[in-house]
């Protein structure tokens, strides 16, 4: 074997091992944050943490493009008709986001949250305590006891600082509202 061949064997051998090591770790992060907020620190890299999941949705998931344009999930430029809780859809809105919460995935797109049920998605009220990066455009602002809240379709949110920036926590309807 030539010296070059030996070098290539070692190099590709090393790359192959790297690849195998990486693939074995698998998993994918999810969330509505738009990513990035917990990135950039070696000591605190744990906080940018993934959740393992099955990759089933990639076979029937929705594309992120529509007519050649990428749609931002949280604030689609075009207002959509309000979807009623309990509505079942077979296809999530373009550019949907997803996050892991209490042992299941929650999907968010065009001002609505969904959970998966068989081959469909059900429009579902987000659970109390869940922190989301964005709230629907049509949310109404309220001030209760000097604190700011937002309400959308019966769901109440309070602004919080989480993940190093503004977010919203799903809360119960505040007393006095």
């Amino acid at each position: 074997m030539t010296r070059l061949g030996f070098l290539m064997l070692l190099t590709f051998g090393a790359l192959g091992m790297l690849s195998e090591r990486s693939d074995a770790r698998g998993g994918r992060g999810g969330g509505f944050r738009g990513g990035g907020r917990h990135m950039g620190s070696v000591r605190h890299s744990y906080y940018y943490r993934p959740r393992s999941y099955a990759r089933h949705e990639t076979t029937r998931g929705t594309p992120d493009h529509s007519q050649g344009a990428y749609h931002r999930a949280a604030h689609a430029a075009t207002a959509a008709k309000a979807v009623a809780w309990g509505t079942r859809v077979r296809r999530l809105p373009d550019g949907y986001r997803r996050r892991w919460w209490r042992n299941r995935f929650w999907y968010y797109g065009t001002d609505m949250w969904y959970v998966e049920d068989s081959d469909e998605y059900i429009a579902t009220q987000p659970p109390l305590g869940m922190i989301v990066h964005a709230i629907p455009e049509g949310s109404v602002e309220h001030t209760v006891d000097g604190r700011t809240y937002y309400e959308y379709n019966g769901v109440w949110f309070r602004p919080v600082m989480s993940g190093g920036g503004s977010s919203y926590e799903v809360v119960s309807r505040p007393e006095g509202s």
Binding site: L7, S41, R43, Y48, R49, S162
Partner: protein, 265 residues
């Protein structure tokens, strides 16, 4: 062959690692007992450790530090589509009790200030802010912010009193890649591995060993997203004022609480 040598070096330690790795629990034939395999010793090239030490010494000598970072990261959507996001971040440090970090990003503009007793995060776009009491040293404050306020400051490793020690604390392997030029400055390039994370750093050659680039690759997140920061405008003799570490909150801004996202990613 300049490039082949580092690759060979990386290949060698991976090969050695694989050959030395025990296939299973060690069997002690004399006693019949099964012993757990011994942990592999860390494989950290001395020159990589030395480079981080030089960088640490450079930063430790400075009392006031100002620098600028252009950062970018992969935002991997559930479908697998990868978006590239970019931000700029301006840092001002006054050891040991002052920090000012100004973020300008694709979706918000934020300011984080620590003054030795409190930390304030202000979202300039949405006009929300949160304040929390904080420990009296920057090192402890950075840890507290991550743990209790869910605030991970990008490049926070470089803000600690001993950045080299912080960066090395979980490293299992490291090697030198070679030399590079970043913004016209010669730099040495190193790669480090630890559980769940590979990271690379480019450190300026010479006595002023400041970091010029840092790249983190998250191995446990699907799509292996990367965070890249290119650092510039280093001022290790920065003058600071008390007012640099105070935030003027406009009257229309509203206060929010810090909240830790227990299950977020």
């Amino acid at each position: 062959m300049r490039l082949a040598a580092p690759l060979l070096s990386a290949g060698m330690w991976l090969l050695v690692c694989a050959c030395n790795a025990p296939a299973g629990p060690a069997d002690d034939s004399k006693t019949g007992e099964t012993k757990p395999p011994a942990a592999d010793p860390p494989r950290i090239a001395p020159e990589a450790r030395a480079a981080l030490l030089r960088m640490s010494q450079t930063l430790q000598r400075a009392q006031g530090i100002r620098f600028f970072a252009k950062t970018q990261y992969d935002d991997v959507l559930p479908s697998g589509l990868r978006l590239l996001r970019t931000n700029t971040v301006r840092y001002l440090v006054s050891r040991p009790t002052g920090l000012r970090v100004e973020f300008e990003g694709h979706d918000d503009s934020r300011l984080l200030v620590y003054d030795g007793s409190t930390a304030t995060l202000y979202d300039r776009d949405r006009k929300f802010y949160a304040v929390t009491s904080a420990p009296d040293t920057l090192d402890a404050a950075l840890d507290m912010l991550a743990r209790e306020a869910d605030v991970v400051v990008p490049l926070s490793d470089l803000l600690y009193r001993d950045p080299g020690a912080v960066l090395l604390e979980k490293v299992t392997a490291a090697s030198r890649v070679g030399t590079d030029t970043i913004d016209g400055m010669e730099a040495e390039h190193f790669v480090f591995s630890q559980a769940g994370l590979d990271w690379q750093i480019w450190i300026a050659k010479g006595e002023r060993a400041v970091p010029l680039r840092l790249v983190l690759t998250y191995l446990t997140v699907d799509g292996h997203p990367q965070f890249t920061a290119t650092l510039s405008d280093w001022n290790l003799l920065a003058e600071t004022k008390v007012t640099d570490f105070k935030v003027v909150i406009p009257p229309e801004a509203r206060q929010a609480d810090f909240a830790v996202d227990q299950e977020g990613a």
